[in-house]
Every structure is written in structure tokens, then in C-alpha cells.
Symmetry: C4
Subunit: 493 residues, 4 copies
């Protein structure tokens, strides 16, 4: 059969007759439109056209094979005959490309926040919006980082720290340093290759990677990108259809995943207004006064409609029955639930508020950690499960603080995305190396020779629970008119 | 009798012979001038002229019928003969009208503060001044909101939250969500139709409305605007003349009001300097140096002179004797008085500082709530009365916090005024819908299936009583000259 | 004897032969130069010239009579023959005079800080510098005000407050309101008439005035300016020569003073760098690089060299022996010394840090009050002496807070100086009236009918001792270079 | 032998054949390159050229004699024949030189921060970068100063303070005031004469100087610069080669040093990103996109590679065996180690975090002091050793606070470097004099006649442990995009 031509495809350009081209093949998505998790509109925009660029970052490559019936696969298109979508470069985009040209050398990045600063300048606005946004007023987003700054060190001196060793084990497998690459969605928004870039850096640095359910790459691509002996874990959003969930879990186990991290803080994915506002501005810029416009809620909503809000403690035994992987609950947020997790016999918890993207005013993981460990100890449960924390980690000193307070390891997400978005794998490599350099320095200066020596006595966390000065509420400040004193009068001429 | 002409009316244009036109009818207000609660000046300004535009926002339509003797009603005026008051458009007003043209689409408002931001741009300055201002340095105004930000969540995980139900009852009647539209004065400053706009939205969303004594619409207009089965309450400023008070209360009961909210925090209405300053600027712009000018204290003083400062606990039994409506004290500000209210047998209290408009440095309602509930419990009084809070609520998370701490519901005032002022009823509808969307999300993410499950264990309010960083004192900061280090000298040529 | 001519005086224009003219009379101050408390330089600057303008604000009129031997009084000068000192108006001074022309109407001042804002614009820079400056980094200066903002109200409701009465007695004499005009130096810097302006306003408002030792007016002038029955107190810097001190005290008692306030926080007058820097800039503007210049330390040092740093508790009985006036120690700063004062049998203490002008990081008076009263009570000393506080009072709510915490009254200084400097007596009158208006409102809203009802239960002062967020250290902030993220590179052309 | 010519030297201008000229003599450093602590690059940059200007600030003059074999000393060069390195003046440098011309007069500096402000303007950027930078986010750097601002005074009144005496003894030797000049590296970056300038001022003011291991001047130069009877201490970085350490210590003792301060907080010298970034900018300004560049880590790393990270408590007896000087551990950071130091029999500790240059989030010395003294007392160890603190001291009030809390004295470092860099010895003299003036004032105003009277009761340090508002994290703030409310739309024309 001869390939289709662009002209043929272009005839099917309406909601009730909708073909799209993805990676050189045409698909009839007319019937699928109402079921599209991201809503029909975004597809109709590309009806009759090549949708690859829009499709790629938010769908793993096997998506169409998995979800679209075979008879809707219309076969290859002669791409030479497809009219290039001319996207006139906006002034904003021109500015961005100029910024890319002038971006700092990789060597000028001295810490993880530097990558974020560069990524903010050089990423596409919508991608930056998706990665950097968080729930409501983004108070928790910022609290996650600033909570660490209410913990201070009590370094030991005169310890022989010529050799310091910060390697550790997590869920029984070794890691060169007590952090792992945590799961984050839509890696291709930041880099055309997506999550496999992180896989390669993780391998290079002997660091564990948690594979996200909502990756841009397919699960198998990420597994395939791993090096020999590389440890990977599976992050799981539990599907309403448990059969699908079971397939995913057992496939991951077969492919060698060494831990199952069940996300428990996202029965519904959070609203992120910054993301929504950015989207709106893009779409709505030529909207006429009074007209309605698309109010889609950004990328998050598009990709998450399958998540099961009914997931409960009652489901845990079932998970334990279908896999031998250690099970870790990701998103635990108070000590009562840490205790309950221990009693439920899972192998660990990740104290996390989902990077501040779910419930604003959820407390920082590090605070929940400081709340939990003493209780676990008093109940004799401290060895029943491993505790991880994520959110806000930017310095090796943050890792040290978490370990001193009883964490087994910490997850780091956005910083690696930013490093990848700005500099590709070189960026991620350097980010990890900087953390190791900081870690070695930090271990020496705190007077600890190995992670076993990181203990509560090395920190002063009394201020951690003090919320006297929460992050600024920018929206509220913006609408407040400060009182002013009496103005001058115009002098009469 | 032939209608009066504009020329005839215009002859009576002085303080000792003062006619004004309101809604096409002439009135002789000469004798009434000294009694006008807002002072005679503002009336004399319109002597001999059409005063409708000035009259409307701050007087219910039945005002003249009620308060001016019939013989002063001079009958209809041929409005065609009345010289239009030419108000040259000020540059400021032109700017404002331009801002109205360019205001954001309603769909771009994602939260309650967005409406405030738009209202601030598009409302008339004096109306904005009246709504947004508060007492003294407006510390309490801002504390009301920021107090919520010292309360953090302790979400439960792995609760089946597929279905969440946040409906509730207040004073025995149902509500779709635990907030009500609280009483705010002078709705027509923000929208030509005034409070009935709120009535309609409240009906649409199955939300209770509290009818203000100082509404721009008449009480009956607001009652008449209600839909079938719609619940309304009466907010009451107690008149020095108790007979009037009794008439108002019993009329309200007859017309179906389901609750009587007696304002107890306003024996005298607060000074609001921002409002005063704005007024002054408007009036005083062409004042010559050294001349005195009108020092009227804004809209608040004008409308409140009838309020009885002698109201006391001794009056409560009388109220209980004249009505069967549940009685709620609005403006309670410390636990001792909550206890006393319970002992006095009223059905509820609203913890409130009047939106920060009365006594600056009054504590936030949410703090008084956290102070009160444990005491009530220890006295076994927790079921004796319902507790409401108002002030500073902007997010569904604020509502959740209040309910976790023991409130039955929260009042929301200004945000709906702003939504109405910016976008009319569509704005109020969207504001309520946004709260419902946030509420559903919040219930899921906090792990509560219904309002009964909202309990103290879900919040960490330890920081609430910490006042280490009060809102900024802008006036004091403005007059302080920061120390500077030594300046450079001019190099000799 | 014929009056001297300007030419004759002008011959004596050097340090070793120095005549000056003051108020039309010539004086030979050659021998006095080394003894001049303000240093010889400032006098030599006027050698042979008319020094009246410089002399007046910082010397009471009887100074020369008192301190210069009669034989150095050279008699009247024919002022027509004296060359006017042409002071070219600096651009700064021109700007200031323009600001004076355009200053707000008095009616536009709604609170005490408004006067400060206006004074800052219209006062001479050096006068503003002297009044507004304080010790070191001016942390205490600002803490004095912001400490009040860590105290919140717990208002009582449903109290019959139709009539509120905030009159009181202090040291046994009545006052219309519980504040007094505290002693501040050099009133003529702000207004040509000096302290008598305050006397008149105090009389008009039935408010007590404390007469400063370092007034620009003479003590008798201030006494003479008092109205019938007006209460005045004497503030005393104790002279090294106790005979002088005795004369001053007994003279004051004879002239009717009703209280003796002995300053105990100033064994040496503080350095005020803002004042010094301002002075320097004035004097040093044409200094050549490398040259030394006058490093005089502003007005404070000039006027205070007589103060006795050896004053101690041992001196108290002597004071008690020479006067029957009630004795109050002004500048007490910790509870131990309050107790000791009670034991020493004095009638009162003023908790004060001298407006922040002495020791930086001295605590606010209001904090010392909250520390002291419970201890006094536990020792049964609470009725042994009256406690006053000063520093930072700007609102009637501040007065209410002080009284609730146990103060008998509060002193207010700078605000009245600013009101006087900006608007003369009208300003001071309005400032006092505004405080009374605020006070009436505040009493009503807090639910207190008289000062006897102002008690601890009406405030929440738990945050008062919290010093987590002290006033900004502006000098330290100015020298700190914030870290920056990596900059963009110049793209190669 | 005839002196070498510039041309002869210039032939050896590559890494594998590298001669340099220092102070008129040529050296063959080819073999030494790989061992150079600062890396070979910086030397190769000067291969065949005169390196004196670069060499001087970071090497004591005896460095080459000590570390380069004699046969590599090539003898004198005829400097007339050496081509001057033309360094075109950069616009930045021109600006700086202009700022130097216009710098304030010394007399305009009224406190220690003023010197810092001037130094910041007039120092070379790299020198300023080296002096002012600190570890990571420089949180500890700023906390060091701001911690003092959480301590308030409780002054005693009515103490006879005519004579106040703030002289003291430290390690048994007298000092005119309880501070000493602490050790800081690389004095010649700020002033061509280096540390001897400080020596001279210290002598003039009868103040103790601690001689730094990493001085720009040689140890003997600094000793030789001392006046008769002047007290000096030795600061020691312990060399991996203990024989060298022993030589240094015993030489110091022989030359009269009266105390041995062993640095225990620097097993590895900290990374200072500000310093690194500044270096990079200088070197990297003409780097082409994508090229690697020198990533040397600033001056700190260059000079510290010899420090022994294995130093431990086990080494203390050895130190006690080789010297009779009192031994003080410099850099103790928690009470446990203070106690251990007492038990180890050393004569003192310096509570210090190395000016914030080592471990970020180390607590301030003053906080560790407040933590330690009560414990020492409870153990009966308070007289076993002397406690010093350094870091953040800028005012005499800071010194007073430290002494009230139990310190024997305080170290001051950077402020004197800044005074020296800006104004040479005159600057340091004035800085010391200002501290003495402040000290006299402070003693009087706090009511203490001598250092023995400085006790805990004079301060309120309850807020010291409160870390609710840590210094701003500038990097994190810079990358955060505040939420904004909806923007205006462009009105259609």
C-alpha cells in the first residue's frame, strides 16, 4: 500500500473526522477524541496535521499502540508531502533562543540552584511552567526548601576524616551516595530524549533511579537504557483497573526493578495555577473580549485521569500478594501513617508532599521526619521500615540533615530535570558530581566518617517546627495597597 | 399636578433652602439637613440638582419613604428639563475605563485573590477604598489572612476518597459547602444592582446568605430576590430605638429569615484612614493652602450613627423574647465571651473582628477559634452552640483549617464583593465554583470523605499563636530613614 | 555708652580674640572657648559675627547671663552696622522650602505618624537628624515601636460603652488621658518658640508636661507659659555639682512642679551616627581629600558634658531630703531595678530606654513592663510605686496596651515635636485630639468603660518576648553582596 | 655571574620549560609545577615573565627559599631588560580607581561596618571576593552577625560609672580591651605590607594579635614587627608532616608567642562559590562557547593542600608534649567538644565556625557559647578553660554580649582587614579606637564598671536559639517566579 499523502490526511481536519500524523504515521482518532485524558481540543488543533512535536513530550512512544485500536492505524505518510506547520517565531521565543546562545558554560554552575537558574532562562515557557509550578500559592513548594534552613549543624571536631565514605544501601541494594533520582513526569518537555538521560547519569554515578509512571519515555525504554547492575525502582500511580496495575507491577519485577513505590498522595492531581495561567496566555493571546476560551488545567490534568482515588489501606495486602519487590508508600505525610505503614508490613515510606504540587500547606517531608522518628523509636518500630524523604533538597547539607534525623536516603527530582533541560546529560552528570563533592566536604566538616555516624546529635532541629515566617503569599501581597502618609499638595501658581 | 421643572428645583440650591432630585422626584430636605447621618455637606453639594448617582449606593430605595415626612415629597420632575451634571472625566477615570476595557477574561481568574486583583484595577477608587480599607494600620486586616498560613496540614493517606461530600448544615439548615456569604455594607458601590446579585449566586450554589443591615438594597428586595427554599439570615446592628429593632427582627422572621446575627463588635464604627484619605483627596484637590476642608470620615461614619453603643449582655434575654430565630452573636473575640454566650443560651457565635475594620490588633478569628474550642470541651460546652469564623478566608484550604479546628462554617465577604464588582453575577458564580473545586480537591488530598471527618488531627496549628512577625507597619517604615554608610566625596577637579 | 558697631566686633574674629553677637549684644568669649561644652570650633566659626541663629535652638536665653562673667558682656551692638551673613541658599534648602509650600493641610494628618512624615519633609536636615536619630544601629529605636505590635487585643463584647471615660491621675494629679508630654531636648530646632508651644497644647488638652533640663526655652519661660492649674513635672539631668542640682530642684518645687523625674539612663549621652554623619556632610562638603575635619559628635555631646556619671542609688536619700515632690526614676530598664526603686521609697519609675538614643539593644519599655508587673505582684509591691513607660507610642492602642499591662501612663515625646515642627501649636493640638479620638474608639472597641477596667485579660502579650525578627540592620545589609547565579556570556559575533 | 636578561628568561615560557621572575630573581619551576598547591596553570600563565605581583599576596617572602631546591634558583635578573607586562586597564578597574579617589575621609567612618562599605568599593574585586566570601549560601556568614541581634540588654541603672575599666587578661597576659586580632589569611590582598600593619595597630592599642599560618608576610616578619612587650599568639594549621608542625610550634615558642591556637574546624578548606564565580569571570571572560575553562576554586584551595584531615583528639597529648605555650582549640562548635577539651587539659577553646567559610549552617559562636557555659557550670568545669568566640563581631555591644554570656574575649578578623584595605594602618587604628569608644559608652550604659561585672543578668538571650527567620537564601529566591494575578488583555483596536 502506498503511503498516504499530506493532502489526504489534511482532508480529515475536523472534530467529527479527525486524523493526525505522529512520527510519520497517520491515525484516525475521531472516535478516541472524547476519551482523550487531555481533552479533545488539543487534538483537534492538529486535526489533519503532523502532531508529533506536541505528542512527544507527554506520551511514551508506545501509547498509540497500547491505546488506539489497530484498525485506526492508517499507516505511513509520505512526509515530504506534508505541509510544514509554519510556526512564526514569537518575539518571546526569539529572546529565548538568544538566551540559549548566551547561556553560561556548564563549568559556571557551582550548585544545584545554578542549573535551575539557567533552565529558567533557556527552557520553553510552558515546559518551565509545568516543571516549576506547584499547588495553590506554592507555599509548600517553598517551605520544602526553607524547612531545611531551620536546621543547623553541631559539628564534631578532631575526628580523623582523612577518609570519608558516604556510600550506603537502600532497600538492600548499594548506592554510592544516599540520594536517588526520584520520579518526575514528562521528561521530554525538558530534553528530547527524556528520562533515559537521567538513567545514563544515574548509572555513571552509581545512583538509583525511580522510574515514573508518567514518563515521556516508555517504561521499557528506560529499563533498556540502564547499564549492567544498575538499580531501578518503579513509581506507581495505581490504575482504576487493577488488572492493568498488576500487569505493570509484574512486568517491572520481571524486568528487574528492585522496589515498588506506590504513590499515595495523589488521589487527584493538584491544580497548578502558574501552569494554567501560562497555558492560558499562550492559547488565549488573540481571544476577543468576552469570548470563552479553553480552560484546560495544564499538563497535569491531561495525564492523570486514570488514577484511582479509592486506593486505600485495604489494597496493600493485594500489592504484597502480586509482587516480591519491596513495597514503599510514597507520599506519607504524618507520623500516624508512618506507624500504620510499619504495621502493614511494607518495607518503607517516602515522606513527601509531591514537591508541593498537591496540597498546599502540607508540611515539608523533613518536618514529618523529625516528627516521626522519635515516635517510631518509642514504639520500637524504628527498624521495621526505611524512611525516605523528598522535596526541597538542593545541597549535600540537606542530605546530611535528613540522614542525621533518621532518613535512609533522599529523593531528588526537579534539580536533575533542570540540569538535563539546560545542559543534557553533561548537566546531570555535573549536578551529581557537585553533590558528591559537597557531600565529601560536608562529611569532613561535620566530623562523620560514614553514614552510620550521621546522628541526631549533629544537628539542632529545634527551630524546624517553628512556622512563624512562612513563605510569602505573593498574590495576597500584590493586591494589598500599603497605607501611605499624606501627599504634598500642588502649590498654587 | 404638572411635574416640576429642573429650573424650579434649581432655585432651591442652598443650605437654608435645599431641594434635591432622586430617581426623578424632588424632595425638600432643608429641615432634614442637620439630621443627615452623613452630615449636611454632602447633600448641599447637590442642592437644586439630581443627586441620584450619589444617593443610590449608600441608601436603600425605601429610605426617603421611611425617613422623610410625606409633605417634603414634592413630586415628579420632568427630567428632560434638568441640566445634566457635566462631570468632566478625570485622567484617572479615563485610565480606569481603559483598564475596564482591557480587564482579564473571567476564565483567567483561578482563585479568589484574582478577583480582588481585577476589582482593584477596575473599581472606582472611592468604592475600592471603602471595601478594602480597615482600621488604623490595617494590621488585623492582613493578620486575618496570614494567620491561616501559620496552620499546616497533616493529611491522611490511603483513604478511599473517590466520593467526597462537603455538604453540611448550619443552624439546622442545609448548605452545599461550609461557607456562607456574610453581611457587607453598600453593595451598590461595587455593582449597580447591589446585594441581590449575591442572593442569586447564593441560590445557584445552594449557599446561605446573611443579609446586611447596611445594604444598598432594601431588606425586602433582598428577600424577594431569593429563590425557592433559599436560606437567608439577618445581620443586625442594634438601633438605639429598640422599637425599630424589634420591628426589623420580627419582620425578618416573618419573611422567613432563619437566623439572627447580632453584631457585637461595633458599638462605634471604626475609623479607616485609607478611606478617609481617599475621600479627602477627591474633595480636597482644589483646596487652597491653609483653608479648612471637609474632614468627613468616609462612608462608614455616614451610615452608622444609629448604632447603639450601650448594647450589653443584659439585652440578650429581650432578643430571645422577641424572636424564635436562632440567635448568633457576631463579633465575639475571646474565649471568655464564647463561654458566656453558651451560658446565655444563644445558638451560636461568629468569631470575627469585622474584617479588621474595627479594632486594629484584634486577633484573627481562627486564632480565637483555636483558643476557644479546647476550653469549651473542657467545660463540656462544645455542643451548646455553633461556632463560625470570618475574616481572611481566600482558599478552600482556609475553610478546611477552620473546620478541622472546630468551626461549623466560615463567612466570606469581601471576595464575593470583589468578584461582583469586577464581573457581576458571573464573577460571584465563578468564585463560588472555584471554592467548590478547591474544596473537593482539598478534601481528597487531606483524606477526609465528609465534614465530619475534618478533625484537629489533620492540622498542625502550633504556630498559630506565634506573633513574631506581624504584618508590616507601612506608615512607620515609610518615615524611617535607614542608616547609610559614608558616601563618596566629589573629587576635586 | 554708644552701642558697638559691627566693624568693631568684626575685628575680634579669631580664636585668641573672639567676640560674638547674640540677640543684639556683644560678648567676649575668648576665655570661655575651652570650656564650651560644644567645643570651641563652632563658636570660632562665628567669631566677630552675629551668632544668634546658631545660638538660639541649643541655649536657653538665660545661658549667657548664667555662665559668662559680667565683665565679658560688652553691651549692645548697632545691628544696622552688622554685615548680614549671606548664606547662599543651597539647592537642598530650596527644595525644602518648596516642600514647605506644598506640605499637606493639617487636616490631612490622621495619626501621629503622619506628622512625622510631614516633619521629615519640611524640617531642616540637621534638626530632623537630631530629633530622629538614635544609638548605633537604631535597633532599639525601632523595636520600641514594633514591640507594641507583638501585643494583640482580647476585646470584651456586649459591655455598655455608651459613655467611656479615660481620664486618670498620675502622681496624684488629674489628667484627661493617660499620657504625658515627656521631656525632649532642643525644642527650638523644630519651632522658633520651642517648648512653650507644647506647654500651651498640654494646657488646652489638660495633659501633663514634663519640662526637660535641656530645653531651648528656659525653665522659667516654660513654667510661665503654663495655664492656671496646669500640671508640670521636672526632668532632671543630675549635675556633677550637687549644689546646682539642689538649686534646680528646689526652684522647680517652688515654681509648682509636681514631680521630679531623675534621668538614670544617661551617665553619658549616646552616640548617634546618623546625626554625626549629617553634621559632617554639612561641614565637610568642601573638605579636600586627606585633610582632617571636625569630628564633633552632633548636638547631643555639645549639651551634656555636665551630667554626672557617678550618680548612684546612694544619692537617692539625698534627693528625698531636698524636695517634697514625688520622685520618679526615669530610664529604669529591668525588673530588678524596679524592685529596688520600690524598696528605695521613690514614688515611681519610668521604664524607658531614652527613645533608643542611649544603649542600642536595650529592650523596649513595654517589654520591661510585662517583665516587671508580675514580679512586683508576687512581691506585694505593685502598689508601692507608679510605673510609666515611654518610647514608640504612636497610637491610642499602644496606650491601651501599656495600661492593660499595668502602666499608670505613657510618655510621648518625638510625635509632639514632629507635629510642632510641621504645624506649630495647631499641629500639637491636633495630634493630641487624634489620640483622644482614637482612645475613645479604642476603649469602646476593647470593651472598657474606664481606665480601671483596662486589665491583663484584654491583651495577649505572649509574643512580646519573642525577638526572632529584630529590626533590620541596614548597615550590615548594605555591605552584603548577595550570591548570584551564573551570568550570561556575551555571544561571539 | 652576570644577571640574566629578560630575553633569556622569556625563552622558558612553557609548561615543560618554565622559568619565572620573582622580586628580581629568576627561578626554574618546571619540576615544581605539578606540586604547586594552587595548581600549575596559574604559574604557567607567567612562564618567562615577572610573576611578582601575582606571587606576593599569597606567598610569604621566604616561600621560595623554603620550598624550591637551591639549584633551581637561577639568580638575579636585570629588570631593566624585562618587558613590562602591559595590563590594559579594564573599564571596571578604571571605575575602581575613580572610586578610590573619591573615597570617604577616614573621619567619616563611625563604626566597623563603615570600613567594610568603603573596602567593598575600593578593593580589587578578587581580593574583596576572597575576604568577603563564605561557604555555600553564606547563611552562617550572616547568621554570625545576626545572632548577636537576638540578644538584648538588661542594663543596670544608678551604678557609679564615672570610671569604667574594660581591660582584661587573656591566657594570663593583659589586654587593654577584651578582643584580639584573629588570624586571617592573605593580608597582602588588601594592603601591600600585609599582616604587619595589623601588628603595628595591635601594639599601639595594646591588643593581642593571632598570627595566621596562611599570612602573606612570613611568620618572622610579623614577629619582628611587634613592639616591646607586645603579645602575639600562633594560629596553626596542622601539617600532614608532623615534623614541620613541630618546627613551626617550637620556633613560635622560641620567638615569644604566648599561645598556640590549633585550628580544628578545617580538615578541608571550604568551597566559596562567590570567590570561585568571581575568579571564573576574570579568567573566563573571553572563553568561547563550549570550551572548557579553568575551574580552580579560588584562593582558598590553592593555599591549603597541606592541611591534615586526620588530626584528632589523639594528637592533643603530642602537642602538649612539644610546647609549654597554652594550647587553645580554635573552631569548637558544640558543647560536647567544649567539655572534651576541658577534659583533655587544654587551656582554652575558640568557639568559631571559621567566619562562615567552612560548613554552612554551622551555628554562630555566640549561640554555642550560650549552650556551653551552663553545661560547663553544671559539671564544675567553668574554670578549667577560657572560652573565646569569633565571627560577626562588629560593635562593642557584641563584645559585651559575649562577655556577659561567659566569654573571656572575642576575636575580630575581617573588620580589621577591611579597615586596612581601605585606609592602611590609620584605618585599623581608627577601627580599634572606635571599638574602645563604643566599649566605654557601652560599659557605662549597661552599668558595669569592669569586665568582672559583665554577667548573664545583664542580657536577655532567650531569643538566641530561635531560628525562625534565617538569613535569606538569595540563590533560591532568585530562581523563584512569584505567582502573579491575571494580566490585562490588549484591547482590540
Amino acid at each position: 500500500m502506498a503511503p498516504l499523502t499530506g493532502a489526504e490526511v489534511a482532508k480529515h481536519s475536523k472534530a467529527d473526522d479527525c486524523w493526525v500524523i505522529v512520527h510519520g504515521k497517520a491515525y484516525d482518532v475521531t472516535d478516541f477524541l472524547p476519551e482523550h485524558p487531555g481533552g479533545p481540543k488539543i487534538i483537534v488543533k492538529y486535526a489533519g496535521k503532523d502532531a508529533t512535536d506536541e505528542f512527544d513530550p507527554i506520551h511514551p512512544p508506545d501509547t498509540l499502540d497500547k491505546y488506539l485500536p489497530k484498525d485506526k492505524h492508517l499507516g505511513p505518510v509520505d512526509m515530504a508531502t506534508v505541509a510544514k506547520v509554519k510556526t512564526e517565531e514569537s518575539p518571546e521565543e526569539k529572546d529565548r533562543l538568544q538566551r540559549v546562545k548566551e547561556m553560561p558554560l556548564l563549568e559556571q554552575c557551582y550548585n544545584l540552584l545554578d542549573f535551575e537558574a539557567v533552565a529558567r532562562r533557556v527552557m520553553k515557557k510552558t515546559a518551565w511552567g509545568y516543571y516549576s509550578s506547584a499547588a495553590d500559592d506554592e507555599i509548600t513548594l517553598r517551605e520544602n526548601h526553607s524547612a531545611f534552613q531551620r536546621i543547623w549543624f553541631r559539628p564534631r571536631i578532631l575526628v580523623d576524616v582523612e577518609k570519608v565514605d558516604f556510600s550506603t544501601t537502600m532497600l538492600g541494594t548499594p548506592s554510592s551516595i544516599p540520594f536517588y533520582v526520584t520520579a518526575t513526569a514528562l521528561g521530554k518537555l525538558g530534553h528530547p530524549e527524556g528520562e533515559v538521560v537521567l538513567t545514563r547519569s544515574a548509572h555513571k554515578h552509581n545512583v538509583i533511579q525511580m522510574i515514573p509512571t508518567l514518563a515521556s519515555c516508555s517504561f521499557d525504554e528506560i529499563i533498556d537504557a540502564a547499564g549492567p547492575g544498575q538499580i531501578q525502582w518503579l513509581q506507581l500511580y495505581v490504575n482504576k483497573d487493577r488488572a492493568i496495575t498488576q500487569r505493570i507491577v509484574q512486568h517491572a519485577e520481571r524486568r528487574g526493578c528492585r522496589g515498588l513505590f506506590i504513590t499515595v498522595d495523589a488521589p487527584q492531581l493538584g491544580r497548578r495555577e502558574k501552569d494554567m495561567r501560562m497555558k492560558f496566555t499562550e492559547q488565549g493571546s488573540d481571544v476577543q473580549s468576552g469570548q470563552a476560551t479553553d480552560t484546560s488545567q495544564g499538563a497535569a490534568r491531561a495525564i492523570s485521569s486514570f488514577i484511582d482515588p479509592s486506593l486505600s489501606w485495604a489494597d496493600i495486602p493485594w500489592f504484597q500478594s502480586i509482587t516480591k519487590m519491596p513495597i514503599v508508600l510514597k507520599g506519607v505525610q504524618r507520623v500516624e501513617d508512618v506507624v500504620r505503614a510499619a504495621e502493614a508490613g511494607v518495607q518503607g515510606v517516602v515522606l513527601s508532599n509531591h514537591g508541593g504540587r498537591q496540597l498546599d500547606f502540607a508540611r515539608s517531608a523533613i518536618e514529618v521526619l523529625a516528627e516521626s522518628v522519635p515516635v517510631l523509636r518509642s514504639l520500637g518500630l524504628e527498624n521495621k521500615l526505611e524512611i525516605y524523604v523528598d522535596g526541597g533538597v538542593r545541597r549535600a547539607t540537606d542530605i546530611l540533615k535528613a540522614l542525621c534525623l533518621g532518613a535512609k536516603g533522599v529523593g531528588i527530582g526537579r534539580p536533575f530535570l533542570y540540569a538535563m533541560s539546560a545542559y543534557g546529560q553533561d548537566g546531570v552528570d555535573r549536578a551529581m558530581q557537585l553533590l558528591k563533592d559537597e557531600m565529601e566536604m560536608g562529611m569532613r566538616l561535620i566530623g562523620a566518617r560514614n553514614v552510620g555516624e550521621l546522628s541526631e546529635g549533629l544537628v539542632d532541629a529545634r527551630g524546624l517546627f517553628n512556622h512563624a515566617a512562612p513563605p510569602v503569599d505573593n498574590l495576597a501581597q500584590a493586591v494589598y495597597d500599603p497605607l501611605v502618609n499624606p501627599g504634598q499638595r500642588k502649590a498654587k501658581l
